[in-house]
Symmetry: C2
């Protein structure tokens, strides 16, 4: 069974238990109404126990944002490893995966991009993983350029266009701006494909 050498106080891994409780709480009530004390209560410890594992509330929020970026990066790495012989397909799949992940985790996405993490925390590991996610888009665009499917323009610019588009769509959906227009999962996928194609028309190599 679990390797509990000694009769531990409350948890084998309180840190992980706190993160789990925090993600659940954020998913339930959004990143704005979220309290350290409530998380501690749900994890079954006193309200000061979290300070053994996190410097402060912001550090716990950063840890959750990190997990969000990690998930995004992982899913994009998968895409980047697949469809390598079909740059258009790879581009479209990346766009779909980005929006999918963001829309499936709206509250965590808002936590990641909504100004909840103070700028001081946006360095080190968090910045690295966030850049790793973007890096996958960059490589996918680069693949398309090498295959002469995409414009031979600054790769950064093309990547940023792709990132902005999917990120913007996700943000508009998650903030409720598209309530009358894009609601079901199917509608999300459809509009993502439509926008992906429109953007691809602008990014593609025209000499062919």
């Amino acid at each position: 069974m679990a390797k509990k050498t000694k009769t531990s106080y409350h948890h084998g891994d309180l840190r992980q238990a706190l993160i789990n409780a925090a993600i659940t709480l954020i998913s339930e009530k959004g990143p704005n109404s979220f309290s350290l004390r409530e998380v501690a209560k749900r994890a079954g410890v006193s309200h000061t126990a979290p300070y053994r594992h996190f410097k402060d509330k912001d550090s716990l929020l950063s840890a959750i944002a990190l997990i969000g970026f990690q998930l995004l990066a992982d899913r994009l790495i998968e895409v980047q490893a697949q469809y390598t012989s079909d740059p258009l397909r790879q581009f479209m799949e990346a766009e779909k995966v980005y929006v999918e992940v963001a829309v499936e985790n709206p509250e965590v996405s808002q936590l990641m991009f909504g100004g909840y993490i103070p700028q001081e925390h946006c360095v080190g590991e968090l910045a690295e993983v966030s850049q790793s996610a973007f890096q996958q888009l960059f490589v996918i665009i680069e693949n398309g350029q090498k295959a002469n499917v995409l414009k031979q323009q600054d790769t950064m610019e093309l990547s940023l266009a792709a990132w902005s588009m999917v990120h913007g769509l996700s943000s508009l959906i998650n903030s409720g701006q598209l309530l009358g227009h894009v609601e079901t999962q199917q509608e999300v996928e459809n509009i993502t494909i439509k926008l992906g194609r429109l953007l691809f028309e602008g990014l593609k190599e025209t000499s062919s």
Copy 2:
């Protein structure tokens, strides 16, 4: 002078004074650290006085978000009234104005799109003004289609592509994701123009 018929308690217009103080406070400390009590203190009234003008904290935040959407809509209406004979120019100006407004008011933008306003408040006037801002993009795209400069595809899809792109770029900048890449106002404008051109390539009519 000001029409002070009677010796009013503290303000001719406490409601407006509270909104002003709130915008200042949000701009200083972000939408996350923002308290009604601090706003009241800055306006020079007791911490319960705001309840005469706003049902609760969320109502004050909604009022500020409304002002943010109104500003965006107003600036886009200006663009929509200008350059009517040059659809490409009009499209590019609209993209620039959107990003400009968002990046000049990062904290208010995060308030508008970062999950600070509960879904219950996202109806009525707030939804109307928000839709009015989007409507301007829609009309601008429509102009381009009528002039046979843009694709004869569902106007909603083209508009949503434009909205997503500028909104995504703004959000990435404001959340600090592009810190190494896009920082100065000049860089923001340059990258906005670059992305605008790339998207335009995808939206433009190809039969001409």
